[in-house]
């Protein structure tokens, strides 16, 4: 597709379970970002990839969160032992340059 694709679009999980969120960036974009938006909040930076490496992981809220990117393309954000406060919309973006990010539609995660 032409845009950033995220899957699943919605995920309901039980507290304590692990979840994986997937992001397919725009082909050729070397930079990839994960953000999350909790209810009533702005966009919170989680992690940034340049190629397959993650020079900035400063936004990951705890060690239950991890992310990887393979082949300079697809990225997976994993949340282990989910908690209710992890409920949010997780947004992935890719970028061809330092100044502009193209976002996917997001994954709405609900932890019950």
């Amino acid at each position: 597709g032409a845009g950033v694709s995220q899957s699943p679009s919605n995920k309901v999980t039980e507290k304590g379970k692990d979840v994986e969120l997937r992001c397919d960036p725009i082909s050729g974009h070397t930079a990839l970002y994960w953000y999350r938006q909790s209810l009533g909040q702005g966009l919170e930076f989680l992690i940034y990839f340049q190629g397959n490496s993650a020079p900035d992981k400063s936004g990951l809220p705890s060690d239950r969160f991890s992310a990887e990117r393979t082949g300079g393309s697809v990225s997976t954000l994993t949340i282990q032992r989910t908690q209710q406060e992890d409920s949010a919309v997780y947004l992935c973006a890719s970028s061809p340059n330092p100044f502009e990010a193209f976002f996917g539609q997001g994954t709405r995660l609900t932890v019950v």
Binding site: Y33, G42, L43, Q50, A93, A101, F103
Partner: protein
């Protein structure tokens, strides 16, 4: 530590009038600023940007103004249209840092009334 702040969570404007969305930042290292627009159930989409070497950038109905001394930027939409109803996010970055991390504000929900 909210480095980018949008103090108005919502704004209501009559169709045809001017919409002014405001954004303040605290990090003096920020030198590139962007506005994103977000419809429900969609990801944010890039709208307009401005570098710190400028104080104004215009694109059709959208104009962004930057006041570096006040660490303030604003987005003007003239004339406002019903399709402009969305959440608007201000974002900032420090190009020299190289981290290419966009720091976003909390967003302002703009409603254009017919």
């Amino acid at each position: 530590d909210q480095q980018v702040k949008q103090n108005s969570p919502s704004l209501s404007v009559q169709e045809g009038r001017i919409s002014i969305l405001n954004c303040d930042y605290t990090n003096s290292m920020f030198d590139y600023f962007l506005w994103y627009k977000k419809y429900p159930a969609e990801g944010p989409t890039f709208l307009i940007s401005i570098s710190s070497i400028k104080d104004k950038n215009e694109d059709g109905r959208f104009t962004v103004f930057l006041n570096k001394s006040a660490k303030h930027l604003s987005l003007h939409i003239v004339p406002s249209q019903p399709g402009d109803s969305a959440v608007y996010f201000c974002a900032a970055t420090d190009q020299a840092q190289g981290a290419q991390k966009l720091v976003f504000g909390q967003g302002t929900r703009l409603t254009i009334n017919p």
